[in-house]
Amino acid sequence: MPRLTRAQRGWRAVLALTFAVVFLGGTTIGDDHWWPFSPWRMYATSTGPNTAVASTLIEIRTAADPATWVPAPLTPANVGLNRAEVEGRLDLIKGDPSVLGTLAASHGRLRPEQEPWIGIRVVIRRFLLKDGALTGESRDETVAEWTSRGAGAS
């Protein structure tokens, strides 16, 4: 049986110890930027039983019907980004809604067969909870809106 020499064991043990340290560090003081050693925090936050569950969506309009906002899938295949990625950048979007124009551009490249978007708005929909159960009520808040230059106001 091929046994490992002392040196071969040594560097492997050091490597294992290093992994252990960075994984533990990631969990105790790290954040997502530490990937692949970031904390395993999926669904780790608490949701109060009497608060609300927020979900972000986008609505768009096209030149064919500029007066009507319609919901569009917030998916990589549609705009190059997914919902969580857009949710994570809400501060950027609120500060500079023109970045939404890049989503319209990505949509144009990914879905050239569809009508181009001339406007996008980001809506946060909050589903209200009472005692951990849905009340059936929801509230919408539009947090940012972008209109293509040249498309004019609705």
Binding site: P2, R9, R12, P39, P76, A77, A84, A105, L110, G132
Partner: protein, 312 residues
């Protein structure tokens, strides 16, 4: 070896001698999974090639290595390069055990970079840490092929590390719940949130039974906190614990359509894969030769004497 008692126990625990046939099967499954993952399961990285660089948020590893924002060319090179390397790696390993280090290193570099592209746009998934470690460590084992009965400490080390990180995925995620959600996480409405946001149509009835979701939270937290127990139980129980986790993940997938696919593959590191492979090959051989063989059976049994996994 001449280490003192405690060190010796730790050393033999970290370097169990396992059959090389097991690492060969593990390699094949892992590299074939890479192909599946890149082509079908985790494709958001490819779409990031179409996203504007304004959305790129470099992670630490990207800052250190000066990785650029994704482009359409980059994501296609990574995608197809990784798939090609993984197919070659899987085929060569399964057939003759050739070039495991070179092909394994290429797969590791390609897949990890591709994941980086997926995660550097503001959202990191938390089910891939163990798979990263497996891809990095697999090339440290040399030649191995299916049915290889030689035992190797290098192979045992890789499987042990993967086992530890796979279990850390549970244990440290319980820790993260305490850190980010507080001890009150177990009494919060987190599962309700999960079902509202991602619930499958046939599981939305759960929203009408909040106490069940509440109890599930307790059960999950306790299971995660106690997960390291798997290293201290006898072999037979260990297998059942692994099957239990598989069942948990199947239920999670059915209810909120989240599956930790790479992690599920890594949980295979606990199982005597070479026995399953031999048994599969045996049944296949028996099926093919049935009718033409009168007194078969012996050759179709898996070797059970020498293939027992090491005790934890």
């Amino acid at each position: 070896m001449d280490e003192p008692g405690g060190g010796r126990v730790m050393t033999s625990w970290l370097f169990p001698a396992v059959p090389l046939g097991r690492i060969a099967v593990f390699r094949t499954v892992t590299y074939l999974f890479v192909v599946l993952d890149v082509l079908w399961l985790h494709t958001s990285g490819w779409y990031h090639g179409y996203a504007d660089p304004v959305w790129y948020q470099p992670l630490i590893v990207g800052e250190v290595l000066h990785l650029p924002a994704a482009t359409v060319v980059l994501v296609n090179v990574l995608k197809w390069g990784t798939v090609a390397a993984a197919l070659v790696a899987a085929a060569l390993v399964a057939a003759v055990g050739r070039l495991p280090r070179l092909t394994g290193a290429l797969v590791a570099a390609g897949w990890i970079w591709y994941q980086y592209v997926a995660f550097a746009y503001g959202k990191v998934d938390h089910d891939r840490g163990d798979f990263v470690i497996a891809l990095l460590l697999l090339p440290t084992v040399g030649s191995a092929w299916w049915g290889d009965r030689r035992r190797s400490e290098a192979a045992g080390f890789v499987l042990r590390c993967v086992q530890v990180v796979a279990i850390a995925t549970y244990f440290l995620s319980a820790w993260a719940k305490v850190r980010f959600g507080g001890w009150d996480w177990v009494n919060s409405a987190t599962m309700v949130r999960a079902v509202v946001r991602r619930g499958t149509p046939w599981m939305r009835w759960l929203l009408d039974v909040p106490w069940l979701l509440h109890a599930t939270q307790w059960g999950l937290f306790i299971a995660e906190m106690t997960s390291p127990v798997i290293f201290f139980v006898p072999e037979r129980i260990r297998r059942w614990i692994v099957y239990g986790w598989f069942a948990f993940h199947a239920m999670t997938y059915a209810s909120i359509s989240i599956a930790f696919w790479p992690h599920l593959v890594m949980m295979l590191a606990f199982l005597p894969l070479e026995e399953y492979a031999a048994s599969l090959r045996g049944s296949w051989g028996a099926w093919r030769t049935r009718g033409s063989r009168r007194e078969g059976g012996r050759g179709s049994r898996p070797p059970t004497d020498r293939s027992r996994p090491q005790a934890g």
